[in-house]
Symmetry: C2
Subunit: 204 residues, 2 copies
């Protein structure tokens, strides 16, 4: 007897949750059908029905992470300019157990993407989409006069993304030295320097 | 007949080179005895002599990457302060094919480290060692008056490491948008902002 439709959906959710727990605890490098099956208390055979190859499992895991990330990326903000940029950067940092898990998954995914052209292209596009979400707020900051008129918007977008992801990695590997309050302070320090007149360097 | 000592050393070098090529091309996630054997045109059986378990292979790969990284980290500089900090940050960026390969290995290693407490501890220590190499130059910049007197040295060290590693990841996945000249410009822009008076933000 085939399972009722409701059973099938519930099973898919179970699979998603198990994949997520394995990813957050062990990373993509150790994401295997066997590990997911053990996490669910199910058989590897049942899972091969969903994922005929390891690659299918990695793609599925990637899709789950993407879905969980997008919710934060498209939320509405009631601030603009640098204050909005700040919100988007703080969204990414590992400030809560949930965002620690999310970041472990994404940092781990970089490894999978490095060895796979198609996944690397997905990552390239994902980065550009993220920068695309930051860009309008830098433009508004420019229009509002929060940052110097000759600021290179693309470069600020890239450096904001860079300092945030670089903090993510340091904080993941050293939560004692990078507690949430320090991560937030480092982002605030960075945003403060964006206001700095661009001629500062010319005195050297 | 056992191999002559010279043969053994040569074989170890061959293994190292093969491990490195597999790492740079495919990342830690795809580093397997089979892949290394294929790269060498050797048998998997020969390699199990060197690496009884996958874990041994990963540790060995890590040791090779470490050795190649340390050479750059301990070179002498003929500049001091922010100019020396700049040199150390540029050393890390993927500006040449060799440094692209090195960075692919390290970014990939983050995945292996996320799922393994001992490797994660190694990564934590490695980060602190890197920050320890940057720190004296920030202190000299402070003494020379290149940066404001109330600068938090530890925070500058952390943000310098952050922006550099965040650029590494973006550049690896999008070399067209992050050619070497732009990477260097972004670091120079960041170093310029370090000179910014720390009271800039108080006007908001």
């Amino acid at each position: 007897m085939p399972p009722a439709p409701g059973d099938h959906d519930a099973r898919r959710r179970d699979v998603s949750e198990a994949v997520w727990r394995v990813l957050a605890a062990r990373g993509f490098g150790q994401l295997t059908l066997r590990a997911v099956a053990a996490e669910m208390g199910a058989s590897t055979g049942m899972l091969t029905h969903y994922f005929p190859a390891k690659r299918d499992l990695v793609r599925y895991a990637h899709a789950i992470a993407e879905e969980r990330t997008l919710a934060a990326l498209y939320r509405e903000l009631d601030v603009t300019g640098l204050a909005a940029l700040r919100e988007y950067l703080l969204d990414v940092l590992p400030l809560t157990p949930e965002s620690v898990a999310m970041n472990r998954v994404w940092v781990s995914f970089w490894d999978a993407a490095i060895g796979d052209e198609e996944l690397a292209a997905t990552e390239t596009a994902r980065y550009e989409r993220w920068r695309g979400k930051l860009r309008p707020h830098v433009l508004v900051a420019l229009e509002k006069g929060e940052i110097p008129a000759d600021t290179d918007v693309e470069d600020v977008v890239a450096s904001a993304a860079a300092i945030t992801h670089g903090l993510v990695v340091q904080a993941l590997f050293d939560p004692d030295r990078f507690p949430p309050a320090r991560q937030v302070r480092l982002i605030d320090d960075y945003l403060r320097t964006l206001r700095c007149p661009s001629t500062t360097g010319s005195t050297t």
